[in-house]
Symmetry: C2
Subunit: 292 residues, 2 copies
């Protein structure tokens, strides 16, 4: 059994990206939609959905990315002046807003935010230092000086539920809100598999060896551009050596404690679980469900 | 059932990366090992293993990356003057050399190659264009002008076995050697899950809708820095609409054809399978094995 998320519902129409004339025609259409963002934050409508304007209202030289076709309608987003690669929970208004989005809107916002933030933080060529320009509808940047091509990043992150004797190992980031615990996680490094990254991160952060790593599901996370890869693993023991330079705490929770926390009775529960729109929340739900 | 790969056997010793004095001491040790590379290619010893020299023989200003501890011995690699981000099969001597490496050596080479190639192609700050300098033992670059931090890339790629009625869909890249077929594959884009990337790529390249996507295993692939995420999916039908701008061909193969090809009787077989050190080869073996 795995967990899955809905897509954003747009046809990414990748062939249109490589056809500058077609792209320009899509961009010039009076009915071309513009996904509204306040810099990098979503702009919610009255029903807490994403809001749209008209791409035609943009200045002609606005840097835009082509997100795809929503049925017959092309959808664009604008690159802001500056990016922001801080974790989501440090972007307070944004953090509150995304909690209100449905999963399909979250997927579209994730795509748009990752793309436009990447452009805003990558206006120069990493190979030669020259200014680059947006290409292929926002899915590439080209360097006119050295001809290098640059592509938006997607950084794979391993996030894992570690189990021992029916209990679950959860941890706190150093800047988490009080009493919040979530699954341990870390970037997958060059030269390792998903499973090796899971084992290394749990060892580094909590001092526990794991085995039997298995994949549960994945979710894009646009702060700034992670692909969260959810896994389950079994611990060889329950003695912990927490690395307090990396995380604020890690401890074992019983199934009853996890179940109570997920029922959102925050006052009485042992911890506050991750928000509903994060994969860690779905992973905890998966874990409770599968053991019933 | 999943497929798995051995790690490179080194302790990545990530704490050492953040301690400049400790790093310098490791680098200065007379017994510090240097993984030898000919630019970006592995240098094989008589037993087709990786070769090592002494880090002490390097000039003091050589840009080095710290790969980790091999038991008590620190292991380093050197950043070459230039990188190379072409696909592996276009790097002919290299392609031949890696086929001779064992899987554990391949994992270490993959780590080293991805890291040093990334440095060679990312000497400037993408945010402001200024020259950057290597930091944290090669696991970061810092910009002294705008204070941006940059991290080595790991680009997730979905690679998939698509099955219909017991047959398997395989394709040819436009620059593959003659008669070679492999699993379809493509970069996971910002804003999509692994499963959505599988479905999108198969639809774009072969015109087939898939369902029941499941994870099989993962492998790092250092040309230049992919994390290959192997999946299996079921096709809704067998009519193909191949996108010849993306791939040279795609077609269905019977189980008998796949089994014969994997037995390496290249002359008589329907196709030449992917090389033994690529995840696609292990995936084909997994597929044949599980249906027995």
């Amino acid at each position: 059994m795995t967990i899955s998320y809905p897509g954003h519902g747009l046809d990414r129409a990748d062939h249109s990206r490589t056809d500058p004339a077609l792209l320009a025609a899509l961009r010039a259409r009076a009915d071309a939609r513009l996904l509204l963002m306040d810099a990098l934050s979503p702009v919610l409508d009255a029903a807490n959905g994403l809001s749209y304007g008209a791409a035609a209202d943009l200045p002609p030289d606005a840097e835009t990315v082509f997100l795809g076709m929503d049925g017959e309608l092309p959808v664009f987003a604008v690159v802001p002046a500056e990016g922001d690669d801080r974790p989501a929970y440090l972007q307070k208004p944004n953090w509150a807003a995304i909690a209100l989005l449905g999963l399909q809107d979250m997927a579209l916002y994730a795509t748009a935010r990752s793309l436009v933030d990447w452009h805003a933080r990558h206006r120069f060529c990493a190979r030669c230092g020259a200014p680059t320009h947006i290409a292929k509808g926002g899915w590439q940047r080209d360097c006119p000086a050295c001809t290098a091509q640059h592509f938006p990043r997607t950084d794979p992150v391993a996030i894992m539920l570690v189990e021992h004797d029916g209990d679950l190992l959860l941890g706190r980031g150093t800047q988490f809100p009080p009493r919040s615990y979530s699954a341990l996680a870390g970037f997958i490094e060059p030269g390792e598999t998903i499973e090796q990254a899971v084992a290394r991160e749990v060892w580094e952060e909590a001092g526990v060896r794991v085995h039997s790593v298995r994949y549960i599901g994945s979710q894009p996370w646009p702060f700034p551009s992670q692909l969260m890869i959810g896994c389950h693993a079994l611990a060889e023991g329950r003695d912990l050596t927490v690395d307090y330079t990396e995380i604020a705490d890690a401890r074992w929770f019983t199934r009853a404690e996890v179940a109570e926390a997920m029922e959102r009775r925050a006052d009485g529960a042992a911890f506050i679980p991750p928000p509903a729109h994060a994969i860690a929340n779905a992973m905890l739900g998966w874990w409770l469900e599968r053991a019933r």
